[in-house]
Subunit: 166 residues, 4 copies
DNA sequence: TTTT
DNA sequence: TTTT
């Protein structure tokens, strides 16, 4: 059935990149998507949407898209549930990204900063690849398992290899 | 910023139609959207996505789209939070529908009305509205307030008139 | 870059299913998508959108979705051009479908027709798979070549194997 | 029926802003949307998609989004036809934008570079609106008429007031 | 007739 | 707490 999402927003923090026991990369992050209308007090609010992305794209995103970066995302809405420490069922709704596009890196936003960038860790000197988009090779689109997303998961270790479809 | 959702799925129950103190109609319902891939056990799972719809469309939907109905929805993802009875902050992610389309009503699905149907020729009971779509008159698109969605709200009365933008 | 389309509409005719020299299936069809507003004369018009679909899905669609069928489609907009018989450049804009979903077959619309259906050619007795969706196996998403779409192509034979990416 | 488009791409030229006889603003432009895959020769191609936008947003876009600007657009696909000078029917497929978002202006792209730029600190000329999005006030969404789009129209004057719904 |  |  049709389940189609497109978002453009800014990353509220650097993505969290993790690896499943079978060594699949997963990145999670939150996108702040500003609303196109104002609230009663005349302020423009935002929706804070949790996003999961897998495999090569998880690594690409974690490498290139840092806190504050403006990115575009296409994907689908996923719901799941788990039992928390207090034994209560928790329901989660998040976006599983199928592709992302870096629209503006933080370094780009802050100005080109010159050649003598001191922090190589999050420098985005490139710019040449600016506006390009990453998309998983088609054959890598997984049949996502129930435990696919580690967001809000009480314990990352509860993603066992057996739950993973690849 | 871009925040765009399209869903096709089945209503898990009849919609809940309510009215705010200022008499605005709001309907909430859950859409079961079947996934296009199977899980590890070879089963086709579904995402259960909460949807809110306002005003005239809320009433149209509550009238025409019942439990089991196949509908299409366009809208956006909204996030909000509230404090529950135990004083814990609860985060909610849901879809605010801007338009919906009845794709298959229950009566249509069930065929021409059971055993004693006499007119097989134009058997589509309730079918006059079939395939039509409802969209709020443009001027009625509200500037949604923070409390716009009553889903999971501990108390419907916490939608006060002051929180509503229309 | 983001290029995302979702349509729900009715097939104006049966799809045309063809095979490229390298034996890739391609189906083309036109979707009539009714507008959600009326024109000046108070009539509800439609957009007639050309769609191309490839490989296994082309065959599935050609088999199951006939003239009049209500279907959902996700994909992207593609533009291309060719020179017609008069040597003029013709510009084409169409949708390349990545997945489709049968929402209502013609036989379903016309009533269930009974078990003794006489015309096996376009019978859709099933219904059990109704509302299911077909999606190409991930690895089959091709790198589409310039000549990918045969719509309005002056000569189907001008899709040579060399132009095809798979 | 559902007819939903989201695009991110670059303007191939400045938009053409025109006014109908009844003084409605209409802007037309072409978006180059780069594909996320390569063709047979290993080159990344683009789709060149014609877009129409109306009223206040037409003026905003023509003001702020110039040739080369990276913009996001949401809207729908529209088809129409007209007879050209040679009396042949011409079929047109284009996108009618409902909202747009400036993702990167040309001045931003070029960096503080400008020769005579005096304030490198907040070097983003015109950048105050960066990342913001424009959306027509809801009440201004028109019931589009058949002749709504002037693209490829042999004569702009054939958009008569009588054809316009507002 | 095309953008970076 | 889930639809076909």
């Amino acid at each position: 059935m049709i389940n189609n999402v497109v978002l453009v927003g800014r990353m509220t923090r650097d993505a969290e990149l993790r690896y499943t026991p079978s060594n699949q990369a997963v990145a999670t992050f939150t996108l702040a998507v500003n609303r196109n209308f104002k609230n009663q007090s005349g302020e423009r609010e935002a929706d804070f949407i949790n996003v999961v992305i897998w495999r090569q794209q998880a690594e690409n995103l974690a490498n290139w898209a840092k806190k504050g970066a403006l990115i575009g995302v296409t994907g689908r809405i996923q719901t799941r549930s788990y039992d928390n420490q207090q034994g209560q069922r928790v329901y989660v709704t998040e976006v599983v990204a199928e592709s992302f596009q870096l629209l503006e890196s933080r370094t780009a936003r802050e100005g080109q900063g010159g050649a003598y960038q001191s922090n190589p860790g999050n420098s985005f000197a490139g710019g040449s690849d600016f506006g390009s988009s990453y998309q998983a090779p088609a054959q890598s689109t997984p049949n996502f398992a129930r435990e696919e997303s580690p967001f809000g998961s009480s314990n990352p270790m509860d993603i066992s290899d057996d739950d993973l479809p690849f």
